[in-house]
């Protein structure tokens, strides 16, 4: 359903590295919205077979020292907005976030965290060894890449488990729009709505 449309949009932009950039909104501890660009790291595989099943989870990586962890602890809800320029499609993906840090005792989730670290590039991994984000600038020079097998303790995996998706296709006059809702049993329903 919505995932097949998303997969098609991703496929049609595979020549553009920034196609994996999406905007993730959370609510700050001051109750103000926060919004930043993050990189889509694929869907969590076999999450439905986990001890605590997880469905359709988008993988994102996060620095434990960024503001997201404390925001998520207070309000786990998020909405990702993902716009595709060629297909002129927008996906608004709303759901709950789950942060997997180095202390997460769940073995399946900890394995997913480690595998996500291993799949990163050196330039992506090295960022987790930089000085504390958002603090006064320290002029640090290049450092060696960290161990590619074992994640740094600053490295967290962030899962967005969608419960509502709003798909807008700007092509066509008028435009076309669909809402997808997940029910308690994990089944998705689709409704076509006015744009």
């Amino acid at each position: 359903m919505w995932r097949s449309h998303l997969a098609r949009s991703l496929h049609q932009h595979q020549d553009q590295p920034e196609v994996k950039f999406l905007q993730l909104a959370t609510v700050g501890i001051d109750q103000r919205p926060r919004n930043r660009t993050v990189v889509f790291r694929g869907f969590l595989e076999n999450g439905d077979r986990f001890q605590t099943p997880l469905q359709d989870c988008l993988k994102i990586v996060v620095d434990r020292r960024s503001q997201k962890p404390e925001q998520i602890a207070e309000n786990p809800w998020a909405e990702a907005c993902w716009y595709f320029t060629k297909t002129r499609s927008q996906f608004r993906i709303s759901g709950k976030l789950q942060l997997i840090d180095h202390q997460c005792p769940d073995l399946e989730l900890q394995t997913a965290r480690i595998e996500t670290w291993q799949a990163l590039s050196d330039p992506a991994r090295i960022q987790f060894s930089w000085p504390h984000p958002r603090e006064a600038r320290i002029h640090f020079s290049k450092t060696d890449p960290p161990n590619a097998a074992q994640p740094l303790s600053t490295f967290c995996l962030l899962l967005l488990e969608p419960t509502e998706v709003d798909r807008l296709e700007l092509r066509g006059n008028p435009q076309n729009r669909w809402l997808y809702l997940r029910d308690e049993q994990g089944n998705w329903t689709e409704q076509e709505v006015n744009p």
Copy 2:
């Protein structure tokens, strides 16, 4: 300060129509974040000379029947996230929203609303005559464009008045990042921070 960097990014992408697309996050009445792509319609001109001065306001257009007006009435805070692919720059623009609808009694703001309507294209104006957004789809066909001089009552101007801007330049290893804060007197200060 941050506006000159934003102007440069806009200039360097002037061949790409989607450069004016940014993601606007608000907080829903259910306290969950909401995030959608909107079109930047320029800065409000001479806002500093208004009876109630407004500074550096980004102009966005909104349908009164969308979910934004009721969200803004409860929580006027927003954060826009604007990513530029060529320059690899991200601007996170945080501030308060002000909705200018057809009943707004402030003459300067009402004039700004009308002028923004007049500056839209016919395809942009026509959307405000479509059936109620997010309701079950009505298969309507093309309609004539509305009066270009006088806005429809569904048309609102939305102003985002920034009080904090976070600029991240992904180019460079390490990356570069600055925070801009507006004080009570409306003056901006700049601080370089770790990415």
